[in-house]
Symmetry: C2
Subunit: 226 residues, 2 copies
């Protein structure tokens, strides 16, 4: 969920928000890192006010933790928050694919097939970065297919919470292949109207993160709260 009015001139707040968002999600800013309004303002060349608004927006996304009179820090990972984010993301996405399996927008079919093809290419090339962005776009296409494009904003917001954590894990090529087969099977189930099948595939797809998250919790407990 970046700025709402994309075409209109980007306000200072938007610029700062987008920049900080990227830096947090990419772990350029690590969990627990202190972020001072005045310092950020100085470094971006704006005043404190737009920085402040960007902070509140990031705090709403659970990416920052504003502690009045103390400091604002990049929100440490929280098992509760991650669990909730995954729950919400899963709930939305399951309803999305159920809707798509029942009555989808066939105008999106070709884009979905095209995305699968590009994903295969990315896997073949071992390009994890490309696959990641393709994965992002793929799930957006699913929402479009279900005629619920707005639902993707919620998915993305909750995905960010987890993606940020998964940056710590070196996902191997075989993991990519698993995700790709999930996507392929999901589309097969979707196009054949198999709602229940698509749901089970999606649940399995989302649950692939479980061991990764657990592993990170043990290897990087310093980035978790408390």
């Amino acid at each position: 969920m970046t700025s709402t009015d994309t075409v209109e001139r980007a306000t200072s707040t938007d610029q700062i928000f987008d920049s900080l968002y990227d830096r947090i999600v990419s772990l350029d800013l690590l969990p627990g890192a202190k972020l001072s309004e005045s310092e950020v303002a100085k470094s971006y060349g704006f005043s404190r006010q737009p920085v402040r608004e960007a902070f509140t927006r990031l705090a709403n996304l659970n990416l920052l933790l504003i502690r009045p009179q103390r400091a604002t820090i990049v929100r440490p990972f929280s098992r509760d928050l991650i669990s909730n984010a995954r729950f919400v993301r899963g709930a939305i996405e399951i309803e999305v694919i159920r809707q798509a399996a029942t009555d989808r927008d066939r105008a999106v079919d070709t884009k979905l097939r095209q995305s699968l093809k590009e994903q295969r290419d990315a896997v073949a090339a071992g390009d994890t970065a490309a696959f990641h962005s393709l994965d992002y776009a793929f799930h957006r296409l699913l929402c479009a297919s279900a005629r619920r494009p707005a639902a993707f904003e919620l998915i993305a917001a909750n995905k960010a919470q987890v993606d940020r954590l998964c940056m710590l894990s070196l996902t191997g090529a075989e993991a990519m292949e698993d995700l790709l087969t999930d996507h392929t099977q999901l589309i097969d189930a979707l196009f054949s109207g198999d709602s229940a099948g698509a749901e089970t595939i999606l649940r399995r797809h989302l649950s692939r993160l479980d061991p990764i998250i657990d592993a990170i919790y043990t290897t990087h407990s310093g980035y978790f709260e408390e």
Copy 2:
């Protein structure tokens, strides 16, 4: 750590936010009503800054529409927004009851039964206001039963979007009775672990709003956008 996070003194922004939130949801402020930062600030006795932050928060909830250099207005009803809000609310709540039917927190059982009893009393007394607040608390209890208390925040945020609209409809006593029987059957299915049954009941429960919303769209089209 003797953190004072729980104290949370109410900041000026919070006060203004809460007050405006109530006024918007209760339709004390009608869709399309203009809200000037400076006027609101004056009336509440604060400066523009906290008002501004409250505005952005309300805009994030799709309750306000901030139009730069023009005006900030109470967001008119939008069929798209309402449709999306209902979709999200439904998706979350379905996953919640599925979880609760599978493995619920039995410590909440007595509270759920107690709530049903109070709902019966409210229906018997024809007290729609009491029933409404009991309904709110009931759905919160469902989240607690599924061990997903945080999920209720999303449900509430999306419920507000619809509740505000439904304030325009005089819901009769028979409607209350229908909702109560839904709740009762839902609990029965939940306590017997009938996940699929609970889901169909919940879908029917949520779909009861369909005709009401359609009716309001025709009778109060002036409160809708465009």
